[in-house]
Each structure stands twice: as structure tokens, then as C-alpha cells.
């Protein structure tokens, strides 16, 4: 490039516009990934429905009818998926005819369910994204979620203050627990070279075992129950529902607001804070960070502790927002789902936010699809669609090849994970 190009304001504007179009490519990848996921899911529906398969065996006598019935089935399933995840059109029509609180509650129901499910995932995804952007691979999400949940539970049932005091106290306990667990892995990595993947992965099993042990101890176990459920968090320790005044079935709680704040905080952390910038430096080029006087051991510990703190917080949000007690399966697959969420969100805070909401939508939509389709299309179909979408987003090279996108190569090496994923 020659200098004249930069001196010419018009050309400069064109170049800037070109840069913007390039960024739109990521959007294109998302759209195409969704298309791929839905197409693949559609094929799965067709080949798993006996009725449709029978009609395909008569394809050559009634081609139009076969295609139409296949299309209708798939369309109806996806309609239920969408209505279960976002908004139910029928309920909306009822609401317009009869604007009452009860009807408004029904309209908002699916969205509330989606966001409720997404809330802990947002926070957990943020935690993992912090690690990935600094080239640290924290596999211990599950253990950190469990520890955060258990400590929040301890605070939740043992003291009774006003929610204004108790909820922050629970958050503090959960964040401290997760941060200590992951930070310990950071100390081991920084001072002994123990690989964080191994240490954090093993900490998962340790925490699962500890949880199982705690739940049969009198301190935690709910009296008179044999299924391993714990005592419940007191009312003052539960996250208040945001829209319960409209309808008591709307479970969306303050946790979502906390998650939003966390997104903004992490965004600020990487863009604005000195420590966040140092973590980026160490993650992207540890040698240059060292020349610039940055103590990378400290960065490793801070980074993992922050990540663990967010995962602990996710455990607390799950506990105090939804079930209010702990079972031996507490935390479920959050730790691992969050890896996928971070990947889908390309480790950007708002990306993680929307990725988690997408996961939440597929979850609540999948339930609706299974309930309302005539042949009860399995819930796991939503998982299939979700998996294909993640697969496509994680391997943009594949989409670039399939759809012959132009200049897509730079998308491939652009996920800030230092080569881990």
C-alpha cells in the first residue's frame, strides 16, 4: 500500500467501510451456522418419523405430497421450538383481545424460561472466556460451580438477614470459593508448572465427591429425606423474582440482572482495566509481556481466580435463583456447557451473553417441541441443532468452503484462544 491512500480522506472512508463489511462476515457465519443446524435438524426429523418415511417410500407416486408433508412436519416442530423459546403467537393474539395480567404472563412465559436457564450459563461462560483469552484452559467449571453453590447454600440456610444483605453475602461466599479453587490451580501452574487442564479437571471429581459426602452430613442434609437433597435456602437468601407481580409462573429473577452486570464488568475488564490488558498480553505473547515488565506468574493466578470466581457465582445463581437446594447432581453440565458457550460467543462478553441465551432458548424451546408436536419429537433434537450450530461456528473454515465465502480465511484464526480451541 502506498502513502497516498492514507492521505486521501475518501479512500480512507472506503477502507474503513471495507473493514466493517469484513466484520459482518462473522454475522454471516452465524446466520449460515443456524441455517446448517436447522437443515440438519430437519433431516433428522424426517428420517426419524415413521409416517414420513413411509411417505418417502411412495415418493415417486406422490412427490408433491411427500415433500409437503415433510416440510409441514419440520415447520410445525420448529414453530413449537420458536414459540417455546421466544413468544407464543396464539397467546399474543389472546392478550391483544383481552389485555390481562394472566394473559401477559403467558406471553412472557417462554422468554422468561429462556433467560432463566441462560442466566448461570452467561456467568459461567464469561468465566471460561476470561481464561481462554489469556490462553488458560479451565476445565474445572463444574467443580467451581459446585463449590460456589455449596458455600452459597451454607450462607443461605444458616443465617437469615434481609435479602439486601444476605444475597450479596451469598455471592461473596460463592465467588470466594470458586476463586480459591481455580486460583489454587493457578498457583500450582505458576510455581510448579502443573498443567491447569489436569489440575482443574481433577478438581471436578474431587468436588463431586465432596458434594456427595456433604449431602449425607446432618449439617447439609434435609431432615427426613433420602434422595440426597439438601436443606433449602431461606426465603431471604433467594433471588427475588423480577416479574412475579405479573404472574407467579415467571421465574426470571434478579440473577439475570447480576449476569448483565457481569457481562459489562468483564467487557470493561478486558477493554479498560490494566490487569485485564496484562492478561491479554500474557495470553497472546508471554515473551513480549515479560520484556514489558509483566510478572506472568501473578497474571496466571489472577486470571484463573477471576475465572473461578465467576463460575462460583454461576453456581450461586443457579442455586438461589431456581431450585433453592442442592442435589448430588448439582451443577450438572454447566461447567462443560459453558466451554461451548464461550466458544460460540468467540470469547467476547456480549458474544457469550447471546450464546448463552441461544442455549437457553434451545432448552426451553426443546421442551415445548417435545410437548406439543403430535409425535412428541424428542427434546434431544434441540441439542442436535445446537451441536451443529456450535460445530459450524467453531470451524468457520468449513462454512467458508461450503458456501464459497470470499476472504473468509481470516475468520479462521480469530478466536483469541491461543490455539486451544
Amino acid at each position: 500500500m502506498t502513502t497516498t491512500e492514507f492521505q486521501n480522506p475518501q479512500l480512507g472512508a472506503i477502507l474503513r467501510f471495507a473493514m466493517r463489511v469484513r466484520q459482518a462476515n462473522m454475522f454471516l457465519v452465524l446466520v449460515l451456522a443456524l441455517f446448517m443446524g436447522l437443515s440438519f435438524g430437519g433431516i433428522m426429523i424426517i428420517v426419524t418419523q415413521p409416517l414420513l418415511l413411509t411417505s418417502w417410500s411412495h415418493f415417486f407416486s406422490h412427490p408433491g405430497g411427500t415433500i409437503a408433508s415433510s416440510f409441514n412436519t419440520v415447520w410445525f416442530a420448529y414453530e413449537q421450538l420458536f414459540q417455546g423459546a421466544v413468544i407464543n403467537f396464539h397467546a399474543l393474539r389472546v392478550l391483544i383481545d383481552d389485555p390481562s395480567k394472566a394473559n401477559l404472563g403467558i406471553v412472557l412465559g417462554p422468554l422468561s424460561a429462556t433467560l432463566t436457564y441462560a442466566t448461570p450459563l452467561i456467568v459461567a461462560g464469561l468465566g471460561l472466556a476470561i481464561g481462554f483469552r489469556s490462553s488458560l484452559f479451565n476445565i474445572g467449571g463444574q467443580g467451581q460451580v459446585i463449590l460456589g453453590g455449596v458455600l452459597a447454600l451454607l450462607v443461605g440456610f444458616s443465617i437469615h438477614l434481609t435479602p439486601i444483605l444476605q444475597v450479596p453475602l451469598e455471592m461473596l461466599a460463592a465467588i470466594a470459593g470458586g476463586a480459591a479453587l481455580a486460583g489454587f490451580a493457578g498457583v500450582l501452574k505458576a510455581y510448579t508448572g502443573a498443567h491447569e487442564v489436569i489440575v482443574t479437571m481433577m478438581s471436578n471429581y474431587t468436588m463431586i465427591a465432596i458434594l456427595g459426602y456433604l449431602l449425607i452430613q446432618p449439617l447439609f442434609a434435609r431432615p427426613g429425606v433420602l434422595d440426597g437433597a439438601s436443606k433449602a435456602v431461606g426465603v431471604s437468601g433467594q433471588l427475588p423474582y423480577l416479574f412475579s407481580h405479573i404472574n407467579s409462573s415467571l421465574l426470571l429473577n434478579v440473577g439475570f440482572v447480576i449476569a448483565l452486570v457481569a457481562v459489562i464488568a468483564v467487557q470493561w475488564f478486558f477493554n479498560r482495566s490494566k490487569t485485564g490488558f496484562e492478561l491479554l498480553m500474557v495470553g497472546q505473547n508471554p515473551d513480549a509481556a515479560r520484556v514489558a515488565g509483566i510478572f506472568s506468574k501473578r497474571s496466571i493466578i489472577i486470571c484463573l481466580a477471576l475465572a473461578g470466581g465467576l463460575l462460583g457465582l454461576a453456581g450461586m445463581l443457579e442455586l438461589t435463583g431456581v431450585d433453592h437446594f442442592v442435589t448430588p447432581n448439582f451443577g450438572g453440565s454447566y461447567g462443560f456447557d459453558a466451554i461451548t458457550v464461550a466458544l460460540l460467543g468467540r470469547n467476547k462478553p456480549w458474544g457469550v451473553f447471546f450464546a448463552a441465551i441461544f442455549f437457553g432458548a434451545m432448552f426451553s424451546g426443546g421442551e415445548a417441541m417435545q410437548a406439543f408436536t403430535p409425535t412428541n419429537i424428542q427434546f434431544s433434537l434441540a441439542d442436535v441443532i445446537q451441536a451443529v450450530v456450535v460445530f459450524c461456528v467453531a470451524t468457520p473454515a468449513l462454512l467458508v468452503e461450503i458456501f464459497h465465502l470470499r476472504g473468509g480465511a481470516r475468520l479462521v484464526s480469530n478466536n483469541n484462544t491461543g490455539g486451544w480451541i
Binding site: 492514507f6 473493514m19 490488558f277 491479554l280 515473551d287 513480549a288 509481556a289 520484556v291 515488565g293 509483566i294
Partner: protein, 506 residues
């Protein structure tokens, strides 16, 4: 087997790595290929081994033109290569590593380990190699022994020409002696050896023919009988672009940096800087000359806090910084333009603005009450881009997209924008085009004239002479002498070859 390279030219973009290179290796000959890093030795050998395809030229074996498209072709033609970084599998045994890729099988797919061990021992006996235990795990062996395994591996493929890429770079002196014995016995059994190095002493001890390369061209073919270390050093660093730096005589002020009896160990624990003492005054440039690999890297690392010296003092403005952290050195006013700017100086994925403040995150100019002041960082980026003429779309462009010269400008601009007491530049113009070289030299002279002490480490003798107000010559980790830049080229050649018995200090 007679090997000939005829008219080999290889270009990478605008860089010509090999230009019309002719080379003949006769059977039973140890042929040393001598030259500094970047002279094109490795490119030439990678072409011979099929890792690179030449743009022009031919490879002849026994006077017949052959095509070598990949390493497999090379092996089939009897060419073996021992890389500087061994291509061994650390957790495999010696025998396993040697048979890797050509495992004897009995019946397929069972590997006949007994035959493998027998073959290994036969080979070792044939070439007088000491193999104590063919079943020893490679990672537990000393480096010298690992190298013997690597050579055996090449020999097991019936190589008649062996390419050894800087084989002694990783060896201790004792291992080097043992290695030389091996080479002589290989030669005695009729193998030809191409030996890449920049260590003059070994070349003179071993070579039958010496080919010296510089900037992609062959600048001399000679033999130990016809030359000496001085002659070789002059050939290696001799002729190049003519640097012209306009500068007034220095006006040295107070001593800024005083280095006293400094000893530094390298990553392998070998002492690579020995008893180095010198001082640098404000407003003068001390240039450090020497053939690469004589302790320059470790010296710079010690002077910037990257590597802690094993003993000695680094006194900056009266305070001893030896053993302190990098941050201490930076805060004390040490500017550092590292040798490998891509790896140590920049974070390619971050913007120019961000890279311009990498080591200044604590500077109040770039801080707000909480967090970094992005506006100020961007403004700083725009201002430095303007004044250093960094060619880029904007100061927000990622630094990895810039050319080498512009990247070096970013590093230099960053260091000069701090308050410096001393600036240490290692190979400040390596790989840059003539325009950028002039620009860098101008900056260095300007910062000197503003009263900052400067240390330049360069393996380009012309650069050293053009920039330095005094020149320290390093050989084998020791300062041979500190001389004025007007010293004759022959004298420099002598000093760079380690003949500094009468240490004349100016």
C-alpha cells in the same frame, strides 16, 4: 557420491535468500558452510533436503541432474540431514527412534525389535559410535548422545551425504570434541559431510573445504590451509551495504551505566558472558561487535533484567540493578529494543496504539482513576504514528499486519517515548530495508545527542562502525577490547576471532 548445486536461486517475496549459489561436495569431504544467521545457509540446505523448491538452478548427483521435491526424494538419493533441533521422539528408546519410519517387520504388522537392535549395534560398530544401551530412553540421554542417535538414524537410511545444521550449537566443549572424532571417522568411511556453523575454530579444525555465505551469496571458497580465523571473520561480516550515518562527535557526560565483572549463564547453564566490565556515559553510543553467538544475547538479557547474572554488578546511576526484576530495570530508565522484535517486542494481534504502551501501563498519562485511558492511548498512538511515520491504515490496525520496518518503528517509538537513561538496541536494523535502516540510525543518533546513553549490539560490522562512538568486541563471552570505530577492518577481524591478548582499552 559427488554432489553439486548449480545456480540455485530462491526468493521469498522481495527477499532473495539464495542468489545463484554454486556448491560442489566431493566424496569423503567435510565441507563447511559458514555464515551468519540469515546468510542463507539453512535455506540452501533445506533446498538440498527437499524442504524448499528452488526458483532457479539444479541439483546434480554424480553429474546427473536430479529432482528433489521432498525429503523422501532426498533420502532416496542418499542425503541425510541432522537438524539443529533434533527430530527424535523423547519417550522412545534409541533403537525405536532409529528404526522409526523404516521398521523391520516380521510378519506384518509385528515389529521385529530384535532385528532393529541388531541393526543398530552393527551400524554403531561400523562407524565407531558408542551406544551403551540401545533400549535407553532418548530423553534421558545427554545432548551429545542424542545427537549421535540422530546421526545414526540418518546413516541407517544409507546416507552418503550428511547435512549437519549447526550441530555444535547445543554441545558442551567436551561433547564437541567427541563429535569431531565422530565426524573424522565418518569421513574416513567415505561419507561426505556438509557442516553448517558460524564457529570459526571448529571450521578450521575440521573442514577440507570452506564455503562462506553472506546475504544469500557465496562470498568465498577456501580451505584451512589458505586462511585463518581472521580471514574467515572478515569474509563473514566483511562487505555489505555501505552505512552512512551523519553524526557529530559525541559529547560524553557522566557515567550512566557501569557493568562490573559480569558473569551470565545461558539457558543450558553454560557461562556465556565472562568477566565483562565496561561503562557507558550519557550522550555516547557504545557499540558491541562480534560474530553472533558470542554472548551478545545473554549480555543484553542481563542488562535488561530478563536474565539474572550469576555474579557481577549492573550499576545504573549509582544503583545496582543486578538481580532485580524487569520492571525495576524499566522504571530505572532502561529502554530495550529486543533482538527478535516479533517475539519479544510486540503483540501482533493488538493494535498499534496498544503496542505503543505495552511497558507503560502504569504511566499516569495512560491511566484514569479506574482502568486505562483509552482516549489518551489512542491519541498517543496517532501522535507517534505521525512522528515516526509508521505506515498503517490507522493506529488501531493490528501490529502484526505491518511490515518489518514499521514494526521496528513501533518498538523504537515506544521505547523512546519513555523517559530513558539508557537505550539498549539489539540488532536494531536486522532485516530492514535501506530506508528504515537510515531512519533507525537517525533516531539512535538523535537520542544520543539528547543526552541518553546508548548501547548497540549488532553483528553487522559496518553498522557498529557507523554508529558507535566506542566499539567493544565480544568473543566467547569476553570483551576482547574496547576500541575506537576508526580501527582497521583487519584489526576488527582479529578481535572478532578472539585475538585480543593485548586488551587495548580506550
Amino acid at each position: 557420491m559427488k554432489l553439486e548445486l548449480r545456480g540455485i536461486t530462491k526468493r521469498f517475496g522481495s527477499l532473495t535468500a539464495n542468489s545463484n549459489v554454486n556448491l560442489v561436495v566431493n566424496p569423503g569431504e567435510i565441507h563447511c558452510l559458514l555464515g551468519e544467521n540469515g546468510a542463507g545457509k539453512s535455506t540452501l540446505m533445506n533446498i538440498l533436503y527437499g524442504l524448499l523448491i528452488p526458483d532457479e538452478g539444479q541439483i546434480l548427483i554424480d553429474d546427473e541432474v536430479v529432482t528433489i521435491a521432498d525429503p523422501k526424494d532426498a533420502v532416496n538419493h542418499g542425503i541425510g540431514m541432522v537438524h539443529q533441533h533434533f527430530m527424535l521422539i523423547p519417550v522412545f528408546s534409541v533403537a525405536d527412534n532409529v528404526i522409526l519410519g523404516s521398521e523391520p517387520v516380521r510378519p506384518w504388522p509385528v515389529i521385529d525389535y530384535k532385528a532393529a537392535t541388531t541393526r543398530l549395534l552393527e551400524l554403531a560398530k561400523e562407524y565407531n559410535f558408542e551406544i551403551d544401551d540401545p533400549n535407553a530412553t532418548v530423553e534421558n540421554l545427554p545432548i551429545g548422545a542424542q545427537q549421535r542417535v540422530e546421526i545414526l538414524k540418518a546413516l541407517s537410511h544409507d546416507a552418503s551425504v550428511l547435512i549437519l545444521d549447526e550441530p555444535t550449537a547445543v554441545l558442551t566443549p567436551q561433547e564437541t570434541d567427541a563429535f569431531m572424532v565422530i565426524l573424522r571417522s565418518l569421513k574416513a568411511s567415505g561419507k561426505s559431510i556438509i557442516f553448517i556453523t558460524h564457529k570459526l575454530r571448529e571450521v578450521l579444525a575440521l573442514a577440507d573445504v570452506i564455503t562462506v555465505m553472506r546475504l544469500g551469496e557465496i562470498v568465498g571458497v577456501t580451505s584451512p590451509a589458505e586462511t585463518d580465523e581472521r580471514g574467515l571473520a572478515t569474509l563473514m561480516v566483511g562487505r555489505s551495504i555501505n552505512f552512512v550515518v551523519e553524526k557529530n562527535p559525541a559529547t560524553p557526560g557522566d557515567v550512566v551505566l557501569e557493568v562490573q565483572a559480569l558473569y551470565v549463564e545461558d539457558a543450558r547453564g553454560l557461562t556465556s558472558v565472562k568477566d565483562v566490565s565496561f561503562d557507558v556515559r550519557a550522550g555516547e553510543i557504545l557499540a558491541v561487535a562480534g560474530v553472533q553467538g558470542n554472548g551478545q544475547t545473554e549480555l543484553v538479557e542481563a542488562l535488561t533484567g530478563m536474565r539474572h547474572p550469576s555474579s557481577g554488578n549492573i550499576v545504573l546511576n549509582g544503583a545496582n540493578l543486578a538481580g532485580q526484576s524487569v520492571r525495576h530495570f524499566l522504571n530505572a530508565g532502561v529502554g530495550h529494543v529486543p533482538e527478535d522484535r516479533q517475539r519479544y517486542g510486540l503483540i501482533p494481534s493488538l493494535s498499534i496504539s496498544d503496542n505503543l504502551v505495552l511497558d507503560q501501563l502504569d504511566d499516569s498519562r495512560f491511566r484514569r482513576r479506574f482502568g486505562r485511558n483509552l482516549k489518551a492511548i489512542k491519541a498517543n498512538g496517532a501522535a507517534l504514528r505521525e512522528s515516526f511515520d509508521i505506515r498503517a491504515q490507522s493506529e488501531e490496525a493490528p501490529v502484526g499486519a505491518l511490515s518489518g520496518g514499521n514494526q521496528q518503528k513501533v518498538v523504537m517509538a515506544r521505547e523512546l517515548s519513555r523517559e530513558l537513561k539508557i537505550l539498549i538496541c539489539s540488532q536494531p536494523t536486522r532485516g530492514l530495508d535501506v530506508g528504515s535502516i537510515e531512519f533507525m540510525h537517525r533516531q539512535i543518533v538523535d537520542i544520543r545527542d539528547s543526552g541518553v546513553a546508548v548501547i548497540i549490539v549488532s553483528s553487522e560490522l559496518d553498522e557498529v562502525v557507523a554508529l558507535g562512538d566506542r566499539v567493544a568486541v565480544l568473543y566467547d563471552g569476553e570483551i576482547q577490547a574496547i576500541v575506537p570505530p576508526s580501527t582497521s577492518r583487519e584489526e576488527f577481524g582479529l578481535l572478532m576471532a578472539g585475538a585480543g591478548a593485548d586488551k587495548a582499552t580506550l
